[in-house]
């Protein structure tokens, strides 16, 4: 670029050197590798999604304690959080996760499809579809439920404003969408055409599509937008119990989807780093009484019937359908609904098409 005067030049070169520094930083970062077997302290990296941060902090401490007592070896567990899809891409691109604990099976499937890090049958390796805890999709409304929202049908009425993130960029939003679709499908006389009409009407009532679930929560809770927030039950409980029980309440619809956040060992990474034994023990511990109890405390529905009974008052009963029952699995659901040219895109396509 031609420059005008020395003043401009020095200003611009200052800007440029700042940009340059920013470009170089990632290169400097990541020079140190976590130590594998052989050194005295073993490290484990759990790559997870956003709302599990506090849960895994507590669970990691509990697991480290019992592992060190049993093996007499030092163990430290690192955790990484972010959007589920973004986290999966980081692992595909080389982030050496020992285990992944993500929001949806499709993201884990991609570790197999795109990078061959895990076998195709990964989801059968642990009980209950490799998802040790579950959740579901519920509604959050403002205190007193001023619009009288009770069930899915209320969301498509005119004059109701619904907040949900963008299914194209948020895994959580995909659960919201599929819960609504599944409900419409399972109604009397429900079929794909009816469900599509239902979803189209629902999204007509959505004024903003935040790019992630936490953004949608902020839009609803802080900006005061919308009458209903579609959210994971654990996020909804977190919001109402820790942010404002006097401001919000949770409405559990008559039926919803069984959200199964899956976990798996990343085979290629644990074999390379020699951490398979501890990584497998770590995931198994999620199914133990201690693991299930910590999950329940952090608002995830436990799989263990005994622990679930103990926390029964915390989780109201709701009729749940699975993604396999209603959609034939994640891959199919993703392809039909969320890929380019899928049903979600058609909702927003211009009318002339």
């Amino acid at each position: 670029m031609p420059t005008v005067s020395t003043g401009v030049r020095s200003q611009r070169s200052r800007t440029h050197s700042l940009l340059l520094l920013a470009a170089l930083l990632p290169l400097l970062h990541g020079c140190s590798k976590p130590s594998g077997e052989g050194s005295e302290a073993v490290t484990l990296l759990n790559v997870s999604y956003d709302p599990t941060r506090e849960f895994y902090e507590e669970f990691n401490a509990a697991f480290v304690k019992q592992w060190e007592a049993k093996n007499g070896k030092k163990l430290s567990i690192k955790q990484s959080h972010g959007g589920s899809g973004k986290q999966a891409r980081a692992v595909i691109d080389g982030l050496e996760a020992d285990v992944v604990t993500l929001a949806l099976a499709y993201d884990v499937d991609m570790l197999h499809d795109k990078a061959g890090l895990i076998p195709e049958n990964w989801q059968t390796r642990l009980e209950t579809n490799s998802s040790p805890y579950t959740s579901t999709i519920v509604f959050v409304v403002r205190k007193g439920n001023p619009k009288g929202v009770r069930d899915w049908e209320d969301l498509v009425q005119p004059g109701i404003s619904v907040i949900t993130p963008n299914p194209k960029t948020s895994g959580g939003a995909r659960w919201n969408y599929l819960a609504a679709w599944g409900h419409a499908l399972r109604q009397q006389g429900g079929d794909d055409a009816k469900a599509q009409e239902f979803i189209t009407r629902l999204f007509r009532n959505v004024p903003v599509l935040d790019s992630g679930a936490r953004g949608a929560t902020t839009t609803f809770a802080e900006r005061g937008l919308g009458d209903v927030l579609l959210a994971w039950e654990n996020e909804a409980l977190l919001l109402t119990e820790e942010v404002g029980k006097e401001r919000f309440e949770i409405i559990v619809p008559s039926e919803s989807i069984l959200a199964e956040p899956p976990v798996t060992v990343v085979d290629k990474n644990v074999d390379k780093r020699g951490t398979r034994a501890v990584a497998e023990a770590y995931l198994k511990h999620l199914y133990s009484d201690e693991g299930q109890e910590i999950a329940a405390k952090h608002h995830y529905r436990p799989r263990s019937p005994a622990i679930a009974a103990k926390y029964a008052s915390h989780f109201p009963p709701v009729k749940l359908f699975t993604i396999d029952e209603a959609f034939g699995g994640w891959r199919k659901a993703q392809q039909t609904h969320f890929d380019d040219g899928g049903i979600f895109d058609r909702i927003y396509a211009p009318k002339s098409q």
Binding site: G85, T169, D345
Partner: protein, 278 residues
Amino acid sequence: MARRARRILPGYGLTLGLTWFYLGLLVIIPLSSLFLKTFTMSWDQFWGTVASARALAAYRLTFGASLAAALINAVFGLLVAWVLVRYRFPGKALVDALVDLPFALPTAVAGLTLTALYSSNGWYGRYLEAAGIQVAFTSLGVAVALTFIGLPFVVRTVQPVLEDIDADVEEAAATLGATPWETFTRVIFPSILPALLSGFTLALARALGEYGSVVFISGNMPMRTEIAPLLIITQLEQYDYAGATAIAVVMLTASFALLLAVNLLQRWSRRRLEARPS
């Protein structure tokens, strides 16, 4: 320009080589790998991705809002620079420092803050909404965010040039009978025009690539308030790396063409200026 002596330091060959190597490593190789990635797609796939109605709407919004923001910044940035150079007032150092803040602020913070201000229950938003103007979650909001992040570029490129203009030039114009408006349009403005164009280009370039602040305030509605960088993220969320790079390539090509055009304009205006007897 007189200060620039020819080759005070030796080693031109070496430094030129280093420059090419450095630019190659940091700019040319990454960008060409971007282009290469799109070659994994067939022409139909490429076209289907980059020319879909949704992508076209996104380019329109991105380029339109960026141009609007850069123009607003050109006008008001010039004003800010003028005040900073020509006047002394209490708190001037503070104002001077404030100008740089959008440089330093993480854009996500900027986006969150602006959204909070302009949404229907925010400080500005509640009054604007009462007046029938919705800013947050509309394309107007996108332009507001892009204006915010682009402000320092114009101020900081125009400011030093204004400082270089001596007051005696204006005095001379006045003694020759020029009105203040004539002095501004015929003496001052032409000499700062190249710098202004340069600041405009930088603000524009910055706006075209902006993501963090915009995703919060735009509402991300497909066909209406969805920017092209969000579409790239959308492709990545579908694990469609080639699709993401395809849109990136379109953005890159269009941005480069636009920036090149403004740069040529800037060069032309400077040459015209230098050709004039002064």
